[in-house]
Symmetry: C2
Subunit: 343 residues, 2 copies
């Protein structure tokens, strides 16, 4: 029926026999300035032709595209949930998130080489003139330069789980490591554990949270029990998980409890324990962190720190939107605490 292009406002105006300006105004809701009958004619014509607003043009004119860029690592269920929260809030405000993945989509727990690839991705977002950006700390660190550009243009940037205080450049949403690791520490010590190990992730520059989480945990245990936690970590490529787990379990005396900074490391412990014939939780307690969806399907179910990722996403999105509304003023650092709850 129709030709090959989308109907334009011009077509609608022609069909209704009014000027484009009239059509534009009526379709945007300024109908009170026009005659009843004219309005009907325009509305009807638009309906008939199947006209719809063109946000590209709107974006060009107002500088607002109603799109928010989101940069996250290849998904695990934590990020899926964060994303769900973001989608929910943005959709309600007629915004749309555009998500780019940085890192190796091939193998999930592996996103090293993102540096220039990430630059490309961030460019794709900026080329489309997103109104704001939500991102994950590693990118915040890696693409700091790009941030300056954004700040200059007053594009709000919200960083999840990272502190950027030195420079007041981005808003920040973060997990309260102190509070939540303390909760884990209290949980474990209240069960009587004294020989406790900590299994950290890779501790690269952009995984500062891992360091913070491990250190907070060590500190909490020291404060409560006065004992020292022995800590391990993954190597730079995250490839030695199983070996580390075996080493921890092979200690003499064997730790009676292990805290892993994410659920990913807990998996290694489970696997190593199974192959060594060590029972969980009878022989050793394992507490993870993050509440990934596989936590519940493990045998026995993994005790894990819930991070409420959807709530994090929601807040991040709300924060960008707020910033957009006041679209102005120096962006102050605003760290939101997340109350983490032990399962």
């Amino acid at each position: 029926m129709a030709g090959s292009t989308a109907p334009r406002l011009k077509d609608v105006a022609q069909a209704a026999n009014v000027s484009m300006s009239a059509a534009s105004r009526i379709l945007r809701g300024e109908s009170d300035r026009f005659g009843e009958e004219t309005c009907q004619r325009v509305l009807e014509a638009a309906r008939q032709l199947g006209w719809r607003r063109n946000l590209l043009v709107n974006g060009m004119q107002t500088g607002r595209t109603k799109m928010i860029g989101v940069m996250i690592p290849p998904f695990d269920s934590f990020w899926v949930d964060v994303l769900a929260g973001i989608h929910l809030v943005l959709a309600a405000a007629d915004y749309l998130p555009i998500t780019v993945w940085v890192g190796d989509c091939q193998e999930i727990p592996h996103f090293e080489k993102g540096d220039e690839q990430g630059l490309e991705q961030i460019s794709r977002l900026l080329d489309r003139r997103v109104d704001g950006l939500i991102l994950w700390p590693s990118f915040a660190v890696a693409y700091y330069g790009h941030f300056r550009e954004l700040i200059a243009r007053r594009v709000p940037v919200v960083v999840i789980d990272h502190e950027f205080s030195e420079d007041q450049i981005a808003d920040s949403i973060e997990t309260d490591e102190q509070r939540s690791t303390r909760a884990v520490a209290e949980h474990l010590t209240s069960l009587g554990h004294e020989n406790i190990a900590c299994f950290s992730s890779r501790e690269t520059a952009w995984q500062a949270w891992a360091v913070r989480r491990r250190e907070s945990f060590e500190k909490a245990i020291a404060e409560i029990k006065g004992v020292e936690v022995k800590s391990w970590r993954l190597n730079q490529w995250g490839s030695n998980g199983l070996e580390v787990a075996e080493e921890i379990l092979g200690q003499n005396p064997r730790p009676s409890a292990i805290f892993t900074v994410t659920d990913h490391e807990a998996l290694y412990v489970y696997e190593a324990a199974a192959s060594l014939g060590i029972r969980i939780p009878e022989d050793v307690s394992v507490v993870g962190f993050a509440d990934l969806d596989f936590a519940a399907t493990l045998q026995p179910p993994l005790t894990t720190m819930r991070q409420r990722p959807k709530e994090i996403g929601r807040r991040a999105a709300q924060l960008v939107l707020d910033r957009l509304e006041v679209s102005s003023q120096p962006l102050a650092l605003l760290a939101v605490d997340f109350f983490a709850k032990l399962l």
Copy 2:
């Protein structure tokens, strides 16, 4: 340093002391038509000002936004993988997927009420003039009307896992149910099973695949062994999984093998079996379908039909891009077979 808006081409042209047309041409790579020195001047000015292309304008002018809409149900790891494939291919072509979620993001296995909400979402995509659409069958059925609009505009639409043959309206990527369920059937019969149950999903209009999968499986078993498969299914809300599983396991005689049309249903069987003291796989074999990531963490690991979701995503993306290139011609139905492989 900079003002509050992004640098415009006009600024670059002014700084380099050439016309906008010259600047535009040079920055788009037509530098051979200009003097060496002029090119340098323009390039340098652009770099200094931090100018970047504006795809909004490009989109307006060419009708191509380099964005592809993606409508999928709230994620489980199957869809995450599909999405990974889509991202990979699109990014390589300098395209960006814009993903909208339809359905209830609150509770994962629950996406009933999407009907008008989905309409809103699809509108958000069309308002932004996406160049193409990749979507999941339920939407294809629910928003059929919108499709006509897209087809009239020659916007390519690729439907994943759904046949749309009556109307040659969309391309289609699908799992080859016949081949894959036959593989499952052969696997089970070769193990000697004769009393086989099938546990289907909800079989609503937009879950036609569930029906196809169940029926293909029943047919395959009938053809190979000449025995009838007894089938169950979830109720309309998907809320009675555990009860169904218990009912299946409570049959007398108890089936020696259960095929579940997705891994989700398999979970219920695992849970029910655990509570009834029935061992897997000693007492009953369970075969799932989809290769969700929790399949491997179950005890014992779930035997499942691998659907290679990333490959599906890749192909879907490639298909849209191909269609865009020839941007023309009646969109023929192109069903891609996926070879499913038994783990």
